[in-house]
């Protein structure tokens, strides 16, 4: 990992994007993308490691915070519309 201004700025950008899409994309998908970005493009880890770790972390943190501690994390509009559609049927 090489430290530089560009690294700082891209991490900051990822934080802003995380905030911007928090409600829309939902916690699991967004966290997956966020961690994947950090591992693959900032940490320069391999594709397989980045994807699998991002998957584990996003589901694990969702389980810990939402299911175990009862924090209402956003499910995202993708899931939301699917739920609404199924509820109508």
């Amino acid at each position: 990992m090489k430290g530089s201004w560009r690294t700082v700025l891209s991490v900051l950008a990822s934080l802003f994007l995380y905030m911007a899409f928090f409600k829309q994309l939902g916690f699991i998908l967004l966290t997956f993308l966020f961690i994947f970005f950090l591992l693959r493009f900032i940490g320069k880890k391999g594709w397989v490691i980045s994807i699998s770790l991002a998957l584990v972390i996003s589901f694990f943190s969702y389980g810990l915070f939402s299911l175990l501690l009862g924090t209402p994390l956003p499910k995202g509009q993708l899931y939301g519309s699917a739920f609404r559609a199924s509820a109508r049927v």
């Binding site: 430290g3 201004w5 991490v11 934080l15 802003f16 900032i42 940490g43 943190s61 915070f65 924090t71």
Partner: protein
Amino acid sequence: MDPLSGLLQGFSTALTLNNLFNCFLGCFLGTLTGVLPGFGPGAAVALLLPMTLYLSPASAIIMLAGIYYGAMYGGSTTSILVNIPGEAASVVTCFDGYKMALQGRAGPALGIAAFGSFIAGTISIIGLMFVAPPLARFALEFTSTEYVSIIFFGLTLLCFLGSGSKIKAFMMAAVGILVGVVGTDPVVSKDRFTFGFDFLMDGVGLIPVVMGLFGISEVLLNLEKQEFSLFVGKIKNLFPNLEDWKASKWPIIRGTVIGFFYGILPGGNAIISSIISYGVEKRVSKHPERFGQGAIEGVAGPESANNATATSAFIPLLTLGIPTNAVMAIVLAALMIHEVVPGPLLITKNPDIFWGVIASMYVGNVILLALNLPLIGIWVRLLKIPYVYLFSSILLFCLIGAYTIGNLVSDIGVMIFFGILGFLMKKFDYEPAPLVLAYILGPLFEDNLRRSLNISGGNFTVFFTRPISLVFILFGFLVLLLPFISRISKNLLKR
């Protein structure tokens, strides 16, 4: 309640399986934050605050306290082994600790740091136990007028005690007060500095501010640097020999006393007490030239001092409800969340919290000694984890934590804002601690000021006619004038 029966009651709280676990978890996480560079107790306590919502108030404080004094233990490990302070209060430990490690004496350095911390921690708890109850009884007579003067004194001292430039500390305190003013006016319910944003009407949240200033900004700072490389030789002889003990005996005691008193002062944090202890040891030593070349006194003194500070910092919080550093501010927030009002009545109204926390500190110090000496290898191995894993999880924790406090996306924005601010501040050598403290003390000051002026009918002389209030006001002005007085006296001496 006399201290002994109080302590017995405290142990009945602290030794329940549940609280033992909380204490252990706090100490464990504290050591972890201490060991990991670029992640201090302020960020750790802020990150865990959302978790403590699910605990009883006593358990919450037991855990948060464990993180704070645990970090003081862990901080020395990184300083000694890699010459990078694991957290800010261990900066001075690098000077001699790393030199000792290079000379193959990493073991005794780590050992004396842990034992010194243990001794200092334990003595400070005894101090806390005997000082806090009488102080609280005395503080019962304080009205809002006295609080105004005490906080005024605190705010001035805060700038004076900063480790860097006093002017910069002063400026940061002003920014902190400004941030604290944002929100709805507590008396007439008018919006202040909200700029039409709805989310600012409740003010700027403490947790996003602290997470931004201590968590996000540290990550950004570290990202800009190159990753450090770790050279760890074999660590042997963790137990200091008789000669080491002889050399460290008095530094530990002096460090404890210095640390204890600095912890009580507002703005007097563990960083400063460790620096002062190092300076004192160098001055009283018969061989000051040995300092910086691997003198064990230079490890024993500061490491004891920072631990004593981490314990005694609880005295003003638990007796007056006034936090003296950023971590205490978060503990205060944790108490508020649980609707426990910290102040003179806390000891009598919530003895389970006060005595439970004290008893847990005794337990915690024993746990920490065990975590830091036999298990030192685990922490060393942790240092080899690539930074990318670490900062990814810190960032994610910050994002989730900021959101969970109020389920507001705007809090994430506030956190990122203060992350950038903190990053820039540290780049230009501005300390975030005065900002956070002033941000906490500002509204407290305003609240008490308006209340006491309401009672006095708008008469400002009350602050000078009540004796206790007058003393603190005078102390405050004395602190403000001290730099000028010392400059004038220096000039006079020159002539």
